[in-house]
Symmetry: none
DNA sequence: TATGAATGAGGATTCATTCAT
DNA sequence: CATGAATGAATCCTCATTCAT
């Protein structure tokens, strides 16, 4: 939260300025979606937002800070939608919960699909790391917690490994599904990934049991 | 080869030319690895290659064509290493073959890890699509062929779906493994992914069987 | 006083206004001393003064007017300190008076040395001319008056010439002494300059006498 | 000579480029003389030189490097003219030599008077220090050498002090004379300064003698 | 009056690309 | 073919100034 270079020069104090910030971030997202990263110059974004280039720098230290703000908003909205689903899933059985979570991740990505495509497909992924990190942390916490609770018999190492793979499955596959849009029905896809996860967890648990005994 | 914008103005016909092209692509790869995408300007690459900026345009229509050449060489080297492994795998049983293929993909990525990181982590992924496409095609062909042979009972749709998931598994996970370097032993990782694939194939086949009957 | 571009939009009539003007000029001087000419933007000065950029333009027509005000205050303070010394010097003999004046000029410069350095070393000297002019006029009046009284035999031309040189001596050398801080003891420096002046006056008077006879 | 930031990006290798560099520095000097420091933007100078802004940066790392080059050329030309005069002066007697040197300094300044005025009157004197330093060093060497030879009886401290004052006299006064153009005949001015110097040297020598005995 | 958000022309600088030699 | 000087549009960013509230 407190980076070295503040990504905002000044906190907006009036209503007007809060609206301006909103307009700028909106415009940046729009330009990214429509024209791509290279074309998303500060002047272009300012024009799209209907503000002067100077205004942009009133609120964002530099171009990167602005693009970070777009990513941050994407992540915020993603979490806004995902977290309640994770909470609901806690009360379900393992199979249902797994399916729910996969579905929720997919849905949360789909909700912002155009921007996601722009971010994944166009932004040089120095930025992308940040894009994924926040999401990954959220999912990792959940998955780790769940697995730890359900499989107390697993060694810490095995648990970490299992978590990593499960998170990648629950994240990389939905992300590629949304970005690449393969000709696979949504339901089938969710079921496939859920099965994948469950089968893998079962397999690892079985192996560890075998080793332990 | 004959796209709208010609990649190359003329094919190198003399040895000297071919060597010059090689030096330029080498230089580009080196600069990308060392200094990143933003710093990889044509002038810098020309300097690194020890040629004049003018010369660069003798062989590459524009900057993108050059960077495509870097990607192309990455893919070529990847295939050079992967294809023999795929051929060898054909003669192994299902479990061994799966493990071999995963291992081969991983090894082929690791061989060019620094450049891969540069390409994945720094290139605006308009290019990345191409980077992945060629690899994916190669692996898809193999996986599809293998699955089709071994599971003639599967419907074309199921086969496509299965192929897509398996390819993603065999590709996304190793790629993330190489790029993110999680604290998981290589052997364990390969075994995990292989298990994942096998379990999933078995699951889908079983389901389809159930449906079919 | 009534230049083409009015220095101030309105004369401060209330106490509060006068205090605000004071704070702004203080802030400008502080920023100049601390951060230099380039950094002394109107916004920065306004922030330092704790007023809004808009307020600044209530009192100063433009940036230059503000910087002129800083210079003017420097000169005013310089004079405040110099004039009493000049008055006192009138009652001393020639040698003592010369030394006193040199010493007074030096002291008056030293009192505001940091700001002086900022003004001399940082302000684009369109402004510098003004900085020097006021001081020079004051000293010139005094020197001219003194010399005219003591050497009625000098021709007007000789008097002008002598005055110019003496003023330069009494001003350029102390200024360079304060700005460059050479490794010369203050006392010695004052004595040197005084001797310089006296010797020169004596020399010119002697020459003129020779010519006249 | 070898500063941290190279003031030239690349040394010109062809005749054409040497001419371009020349044109750029010429243009910069012209713009400085005509329009002042503030107006001397890189784009303006490039336009005046009839080259593209890019060309300017082929030879000068940044704006300051270019302005330094202007100053450097001023100093070089100044020295070109001054050094022979200093050499000639060595063979003259003390009075003639002093007059010659003052005259030479003045002449060397006058030769580039418009640019000098621009540099002194317009450039923020961070740069000015450099302008003066080179000249001062040259003159200091000469003066120190001469005084040391002629007055072996002086203590090192006295010699340093004397040198500083004499150099300031031989430099500050001519500089102000050229910049301010006071209504004093050139001959008279040179004679005055020479007298000033000689009288001061004699005075200090006498004093030191008195102290020593 | 005071505020602070907004302005926008202008600045320094870069870099893909061209072209005379 | 190769060179490297030259190009110039475009980029990010600043800051003196204005103006609605």
């Amino acid at each position: 939260m407190s980076s070295v270079r503040p990504n905002r020069r000044r906190e907006p104090q009036q209503d007007r300025s809060r609206r301006t910030v909103e307009r700028i971030v909106d415009a940046a997202a729009r330009v990214l979606e429509r024209d791509g990263y290279r074309a998303a110059s500060t002047n272009r974004i300012a024009a799209e937002a209907g503000v002067s280039p100077g205004s942009l720098y009133q609120y964002f230290g530099d171009r990167d800070a602005l693009l970070e703000a777009v990513t941050a908003r994407f992540v915020a909205r993603f979490e806004e939608q995902l977290v309640p689903a994770l909470r609901r899933a806690v009360r379900e059985d393992q199979v249902a919960a797994t399916t729910s979570v996969i579905d929720a991740v997919l849905a949360a990505l789909e909700q912002q699909a155009p921007l996601l495509r722009a971010l994944v497909a166009r932004i040089p992924p120095e930025r992308q790391a940040e894009l994924t990190r926040a999401i990954r942390e959220r999912v990792t916490d959940y998955v780790f917690g769940t697995l730890a609770r359900q499989h107390v018999e697993l060694s810490p190492d095995a648990l970490d490994r299992l978590t990593w793979v499960v998170v990648e499955l629950a994240q990389s596959l939905p992300l590629r599904y949304v970005v690449d849009a393969p000709p696979i029905p949504r339901e089938a896809f969710v079921a496939d990934v859920a099965r994948l996860v469950l089968a893998h967890v079962a397999g690892v648990v079985a192996d560890e049991g075998a080793i332990a005994s």
